[in-house]
């Protein structure tokens, strides 16, 4: 029998277009997990520098390979994004910025700030 119920569906994920602020919220958790992996790799790199030149050479080789550089570029984005959105959260924690318009505006500011900081860091890295 054909579906002839015209009553509106509850707006679940396949029917409801998430607002920008919701995507940033999801991304905050996702980047938090990625950043946890980043600090694990940082410790492995430092531990290798504390051991033998061979161990360090292996880790540094990974970090400076094209894939390693791509991962490091990604980590600058996720770290800065999580930091900027975290600052947004800190403002919410003290009671500011809850209005829909303000939250949307701060979402754009957060994305722009994270992108700008990443690009500046990449320029510093390229110049070094």
């Amino acid at each position: 029998m054909a579906w002839n119920d015209t009553r509106p569906l509850s707006p679940h994920l396949q029917h409801y277009k998430l607002p920008l602020t919701a995507y940033l919220s999801v991304a905050h958790r996702a980047t938090g997990i990625v950043n946890s992996l980043a600090i694990v790799l940082l410790v492995l790199l430092i531990a290798s520098a504390a051991s033998t030149p061979e161990n360090h050479g292996f880790m540094a080789g990974l970090a400076t390979s094209w894939f390693g550089s791509l991962v490091l570029f990604g980590f600058t984005l996720t770290l800065y994004y999580h930091m900027c959105n975290g600052i947004r959260h800190l403002f919410w924690d003290v009671g500011y910025g809850f209005e829909v318009e303000t939250a949307t505006k701060s979402a754009y500011v957060c994305l722009a700030a994270a992108a700008t900081l990443s690009v500046i860091t990449w320029i510093v890295a390229a110049a070094a």
Partner: protein, 127 residues
């Protein structure tokens, strides 16, 4: 209906889990501390001329770098452990699985933080 909470429990404000806002507060404190630490880390790593053995060791052996790196490692792993705990509590349904995951994340964070701090100190003091 009468309030069933005792006056003492209301004054203490620690709730049924007996930890009150300590998780929330620790997460925010570490978040604030990580703002300068992340900026320092990103720009110092970006400014490194290369990743070769001696250059990295010389960088980590300087007192300022060593202090900042030890601070970053301790605060970052604490913050990471707090955040991953919340994610586990939200998405891992079973009681046993949830407890195992939280214990695992806590142990991993503690071990990795100690390995990181030990490595920095070894480079700084043992050359």
């Amino acid at each position: 209906m009468r309030n069933l909470r005792t006056p003492l429990s209301e004054v203490k404000g620690l709730g049924s889990a007996k930890e009150g806002t300590s998780h929330f507060w620790a997460q925010r404190l570490t978040a604030i501390a990580l703002i300068p630490l992340v900026l320092w880390l990103a720009f110092s790593v970006a400014s490194l001329p290369g990743m070769d053995y001696l250059a990295v060791r010389e960088w980590l052996a300087s007192p300022f770098t060593a202090i900042m790196m030890v601070l970053f490692i301790m605060v970052a792993f604490y913050h990471s452990r707090l955040g991953l705990q919340v994610i586990i509590e939200d998405y891992v349904g079973g009681h046993a699985g949830r407890m195992i995951a939280i214990i695992g994340v806590t142990f991993a964070a503690a071990i990795l933080a100690v390995v990181g701090v030990f490595s920095v100190l070894r480079i700084t003091f043992a050359g």
